[in-house]
Each structure stands twice: as structure tokens, then as C-alpha cells.
């Protein structure tokens, strides 16, 4: 087997892996602070839909900005329900997923989309109003580094968002595990009552991590649209938000381990396309696609086994609302 075959596979492994990695960065913070955001799938969908529309109207840069803003708004909605009103995070999250999937389908529907596009930019030519595809983010190969065999195409021949995400992951790991701000976030997720007694503002931290989770999920959706699959299909996120939640479990709530996990999940997806291409797994690509979900179930089970649980476990206050008065 020649190296020409392996390099594009590894390159697309990174491309798709970054969707999961970017989506996980905010949600790892949220879960570390005790917030389980099941709305991730819907926020990702809305991020993809909005970036699709805004790219047509105003271009790539603003697409990420607007998608991020909508993600923040969805995060605030989650925070208001789950932190301020202390409602059940699971039902709120599922409702947000439903809302995101619904709205993303609604605003991209040809008739509604046409009206939105004409309002945003009246000078758009008629043909653009009907298009299902957008221009992809341009690749920015890094000179010299991209020449390295295998590592070059895998990490140094991508668009800007990939680079930013790969740099952000270790930075966010450092912030979470090596700074006092990170310690505060983690203590809120382990024992909010104790954290509160020590003078940490539980509500403020959880609002912040909800916003982060919403923002990064929407950005992941925007990246998926503009950096990986630049044509709109309703429901295109197709469970990738939940795969991101699965990645977070596999990486045991660490942004650093999430880098490796995201490459694994990206690899699984690329492998599935390849298998179909070669006719090897033509009868059962579904079993490959099941892997991320199965891995989540298995990891969760292993983490609950006594000997593992002593060393590493889910944040103790995950998905539990905090009542100050007890």
C-alpha cells in the first residue's frame, strides 16, 4: 500500500475530527462545572444553518461571528432554564436540540431562505438565492511543515479554523487544569455547595460555561458547514452533536485527550467512507458508524467500575441543579 493512499485519509480524519473537537471544547467546561448540555446537537445544527445563510449574504468571517452569537444566545437560554430556574437539564437540553433542529430547517427552507437573504443583502443576484452550496473555507498550507510526510498533510494543510482549534485545545486544557480559574470551574462541578461556601460564584461560573458550550457548539456547526461539507442538507449534523458528547466521555472531560479522541472518531467516519468506496464494507458501513455511540456506552460503563472510578470519574454534580438555600 502506497503512502499516497494514506495521506488524504489522514487529512480528512483531521478535517472531520475538528468538528468534534471544536464542539467539545466548550461543553467540557460546561460538564466540568456541572452542566450537561443535551442541546448541543441542535445548537450545532443552527450554527451550520446560520453560517450557510450568512456566508451567501456576507461571506465567511461574518458567518462564524453570527453563528457564534446565536450559539451564545442558545447557551444563555440553557443557562436561564438550568441555572437560574434550576430546571431539569435533560429536558431543557432535549427541547433546545428540538428547537435548533426545527429552526435550522425552517430558516434554510427555500422560500424562507430567499426572503431572509434578500433582507440581509438586497444586491444578491437571483441565482445565489437558490443555491444549496457555498464556497469552502480556503486552505492555508503552512510552508515547510506541510512537506513533512504524513504529519504535513494531516496537520499543516488545512483552513484557519483547524489550526485555531488545534492550538485552542491545549490552551483550554491548561486553563482548566493549571490555573485557579480552572480550579474554580472544576470545584463548582464537583461540589457546588462547598465552592459557594468558599466564595466562588456558582451561578456566574455556570452561566459562563453554558455560554461557552453554546458558542463552541455553534462554531463547530459552522465549521462543519464551511470547512467540511459546503452544501446544505436538512439534518446534516445527523447526530454529530451527540457524537461530540460521546467524545467528551471518551476523553474523560479533558480537552487534551479530546484531541486524540476526536482524531479517532474522525478516523472512524473516514474509514466508513473508504470502506464503501472499496466495496469492502459495502454491506455494513452501519456497524462502523455505530462505533462512536457504542464507545460512549462502553466508556461510561468502564468509568463506573469501582477500580476505575477511584482514579477518574464524571464530575460529581453533573446535571444536578444547585440550590443555595438547600
Amino acid at each position: 500500500m502506497s503512502i499516497e493512499w494514506i495521506e488524504p485519509v489522514l487529512a480528512s480524519t483531521t478535517s472531520i475530527g475538528v468538528v468534534y473537537l471544536l464542539g467539545s471544547l466548550g461543553e467540557i467546561y460546561a460538564e466540568r462545572s456541572g452542566i450537561l448540555n443535551l442541546g448541543l446537537e441542535g445548537i450545532m445544527a443552527i450554527g451550520a444553518a446560520i453560517s450557510f445563510i450568512i456566508t451567501i449574504a456576507w461571506g465567511h468571517a461574518l458567518a462564524f461571528l453570527v453563528a457564534g452569537i446565536f450559539g451564545i444566545l442558545m447557551g444563555l437560554l440553557l443557562a436561564f432554564f438550568a441555572v437560574s430556574l434550576r430546571l431539569n437539564q435533560i429536558t431543557v437540553g432535549l427541547a433546545i436540540t428540538m428547537l435548533g433542529l426545527g429552526l435550522s430547517g425552517f430558516i434554510t427552507f427555500p422560500t424562507t431562505r430567499k426572503i431572509i437573504l434578500q433582507t440581509l443583502n438586497p444586491e444578491l443576484p437571483g441565482a445565489v438565492l437558490e443555491t444549496q452550496s457555498v464556497s469552502m473555507l480556503p486552505s492555508v498550507p503552512i510552508p515547510l511543515l506541510k512537506e513533512i510526510p504524513i504529519v504535513g498533510p494531516m496537520f499543516f494543510n488545512h483552513n484557519v479554523v483547524v489550526y485555531i482549534t488545534l492550538i485552542l485545545a491545549p490552551l483550554m486544557w491548561f486553563l482548566l487544569f493549571r490555573t485557579s480559574a480552572g480550579l474554580k470551574i472544576r470545584s463548582v462541578g464537583e461540589n457546588p455547595g462547598m465552592a459557594d461556601a468558599l466564595g466562588i460564584n456558582v451561578f456566574r461560573i455556570r452561566y459562563l460555561t453554558c455560554i461557552l458550550s453554546g458558542m463552541f457548539s455553534a462554531l463547530a456547526g459552522a465549521y462543519f458547514m464551511l470547512g467540511f461539507q459546503p452544501f446544505w442538507i436538512e439534518g446534516m449534523t445527523g447526530g454529530r452533536g451527540f457524537i461530540t458528547l460521546s467524545l467528551i466521555i471518551l476523553s474523560t472531560w479533558s480537552p487534551l485527550r479530546a484531541i486524540f479522541g476526536s482524531l479517532l472518531f474522525g478516523g472512524i467516519e473516514v474509514l466508513q467512507y473508504r470502506l464503501q468506496l472499496f466495496g469492502l464494507g459495502a454491506t455494513s458501513p452501519q456497524f462502523v458508524l455505530m462505533l462512536p455511540y457504542a464507545i460512549a456506552v462502553i466508556t461510561l460503563s468502564l468509568l463506573s467500575v469501582e477500580s476505575f472510578r477511584k482514579r477518574i470519574s464524571a464530575p460529581a454534580a453533573l446535571a444536578k441543579p444547585y440550590y443555595r438555600e438547600g
Binding site: 429536558t91 433546545i96 429552526l103 447526530g239 455505530m290 467500575v305
Partner: protein
């Protein structure tokens, strides 16, 4: 200024009123959202209302509501015992697989007599749906694994498993290569009573009655309710918590599996990929709207079946996408979740 006062225990009357008001709030909020998105809101609601006063459309609403009602009744059992089963969608898919499996056993291997077909399909789909729920339940009972994430992930595994079957070994050899199972023979379809919705509503009422009896009159139902209030209390009272969790979730997933049986046998007449447009998720809203009361599940479910029916009309009359209904559903969902807040707290005016 306003002040929040905690209610010790909301009365049934208060809960009902709060839920009803938040249900109305959802209509208002949805109207507001769609008004800003340029939809003719009056027409939107009149199309939805029309479904419930036109007999043909109402029958269609009932038809579409059966899988929602059945899986929602399953969720009543799970939620009452404090088991956060959000895997009804996957359990529906497993029910479909089992029912289709029986048909295939019959058609290709002649294994089951014609007279027993429907019963065998029902039992198989119940057991398959129940077994799917049991995976998450036994992980919870044995290892303490949180069921929310496991049931959620199992949904996707189930959906992909159906994809595998109809694209692979169960594909109809005479189906022109489409990803469909063989069509079910007449005696394997749920059409007693002249119309599939009659058969469906009969089964639904029977299951609702069984769930009602389970909680009202049986020991298992009592144990499950105690378990739902506090697993500690259940343990101290000497109840076998693990066994009850497993039994309850078998019943919960099993009833959702019956919903899958109805989808393939009553609605489509064969198995196809993605045969459920999210019935199992809508069922969560219905269970909460009905306040886990099995009898109230029936009208609440029919309302959501009506929304699905109205979705078709919205597409043809107002040129609105099917996702319009998803938005409306999600707003109802959020409002019902919000209702919980007003059940727990009383807003009082303070001088």
C-alpha cells in the same frame, strides 16, 4: 417587588392549571416567533385547528399519534420510577425489527402459523423493545451508569441497526433494490376494526388501562412509585431496588416496542430506514404534558399526532417546511419544562 416562595407540595389542581397555562403560553410564543419570521400566524393556527374538527383529518391525527401514545405510556412507567429513559426512539426501532423478523421467519421459513402471527409479532416487539431498555437499566442497576446518556446513544445504534438490516440481509429481493423489507402479508397487518387507527386506539386504550392498573393496584407499581420518589427509602424499606428497576424498564421499553410494532404493521406495512420521524422524542413531551397520567396521554398524544397531520397541510397550503411543526413542538416542550418551575415556586407580591 416580586418574591419567590417555595411550594411544599403542589396540589393536583395547581399542577394542572400551571401545565395548561404554559401550554397556552407555547401557542403565544410560537405565534410570536413565526410572526417575526413572516408567517401568517392566523392561517397557521387555523390549519392546525382544522385538523381537529375535520373527521378525515382527525382520523389521520389519531393514526399518526399511536406510536407516540404507546411509547409515551412506556415512558410513564420509566419516569414514575425515576428512570430517565430517553431511549424510546431506539426501543421503537427494536420493536419494528422484532415484528419484521417474525414476518420474515414466517414468509421464508414457514416457522409461525398464520393465526398466531399478530400475537407473535406483538410479543416479540415487546420483548425486543424491553431488552433494549434493559441494557441501560442493567448498567444502571449493576454499575450505577447514568441512564440518560446510555439510552440516548442506544437510540442511534438501534437506528443504524435498522439501516443495516434493510440495506443488507432483510432487503426485499423483489424490491427493485430499494432499502425496504418485504411487504407484510395482510394477516400480519394491524387493520382490525376497519381502519388502522381503530386497531391502534384499541391497543393504546388497553395499554393505558394496564399502566393505570399497574400503578394503582399492583405491588410492583407501588415499589416503582416509591423508587421514583427516593431510591434510599425503597432500599431501607427492604425493597429489591435492582429487580424493580429491571422489571420496570422491561415494561417501559416493551411498551415503546409495541409502538414500533404499530409503525411497521399498522402504518407502513414493511420496514424501511428512518421509519420513525422522532416519535420517541415527541413521546417525552407528551408524557410531561400529561403529567405522567396514563389516561391523559391519549388526548395529549392525539394533539401531537394532529400537529404531524397539520404539518402536511402547512406544506401544501402555506409552503412551510415540516420543521415548522418541530419548532412548535420544541416551544411547547420548553414551556412545559418551565411549568415545573411554577409548580415548585409561587410568585408573590411583596411590599
Amino acid at each position: 417587588m416580586f418574591k419567590l416562595e417555595r411550594r411544599v407540595y403542589p396540589s393536583r389542581k395547581t399542577s394542572g392549571l400551571v401545565i395548561f397555562l404554559s401550554f397556552l403560553l407555547a401557542f403565544f410564543v410560537t405565534g410570536l416567533i413565526f410572526y417575526f419570521l413572516g408567517v401568517n400566524v392566523v392561517q397557521f393556527y387555523s390549519i392546525i385547528g382544522n385538523v381537529f374538527i375535520t373527521p378525515v383529518l382527525f382520523l389521520q391525527a389519531v393514526f399518526r399519534s399511536i406510536p407516540i401514545i404507546l411509547s409515551s405510556l412506556g415512558l410513564v412507567v420509566a419516569f414514575r420510577m425515576g428512570f430517565w429513559n430517553i431511549g424510546a426512539e431506539g426501543q421503537i426501532y427494536l420493536g419494528m425489527v422484532a415484528a419484521t423478523g417474525i414476518v420474515i421467519l414466517h414468509v421464508f421459513y414457514d416457522a409461525i402459523p398464520v393465526s398466531l402471527m399478530l400475537i407473535a409479532m406483538g410479543v416479540a416487539s415487546f420483548l425486543a423493545g424491553g431488552a433494549w431498555c434493559l441494557i441501560a437499566a442493567s448498567l444502571k442497576a449493576k454499575l450505577g451508569v447514568n441512564e440518560v446518556l446510555t439510552t440516548l446513544m442506544l437510540n442511534y445504534i438501534a437506528m443504524l441497526f435498522v439501516d443495516y438490516l434493510v440495506y443488507g440481509p432483510w432487503r426485499d429481493p423483489e424490491g427493485w433494490g430499494f432499502a425496504l423489507s418485504i411487504p407484510f402479508p395482510d394477516y400480519a397487518t394491524l387493520t382490525f376494526g376497519g381502519h388502522p387507527s381503530v386497531a391502534g386506539i384499541t391497543i393504546s386504550v388497553a395499554v393505558a388501562a394496564l399502566v393505570y392498573v399497574l400503578f394503582k393496584y399492583t405491588k410492583l407499581g407501588f415499589v416503582l412509585s416509591v423508587l421514583g420518589k427516593s431510591s434510599e427509602v425503597a432500599k431501607y424499606a427492604g425493597m429489591s431496588v435492582g429487580r424493580a428497576t429491571l422489571l420496570g424498564s422491561l415494561i417501559s421499553g416493551g411498551i415503546a416496542g409495541l409502538g414500533g410494532f404499530y409503525v411497521v404493521s399498522g402504518m407502513i406495512g414493511r420496514l424501511r430506514p428512518r421509519a420513525s420521524p422522532g416519535y420517541g422524542y415527541t413521546a417525552i413531551i407528551v408524557a410531561m404534558l400529561a403529567q405522567l397520567n396514563p389516561w391523559l396521554i391519549l388526548p395529549a398524544g392525539i394533539f401531537f399526532g394532529g400537529l404531524l397531520t397539520a404539518g402536511d397541510a402547512l406544506q401544501s397550503l402555506l409552503r412551510l417546511p415540516a420543521s415548522t411543526i418541530t419548532v412548535f413542538q420544541s416551544v411547547i416542550f420548553l414551556c412545559i419544562v418551565l411549568a415545573e418551575f411554577f409548580m415548585r415556586y409561587k410568585v408573590v407580591l411583596k411590599r
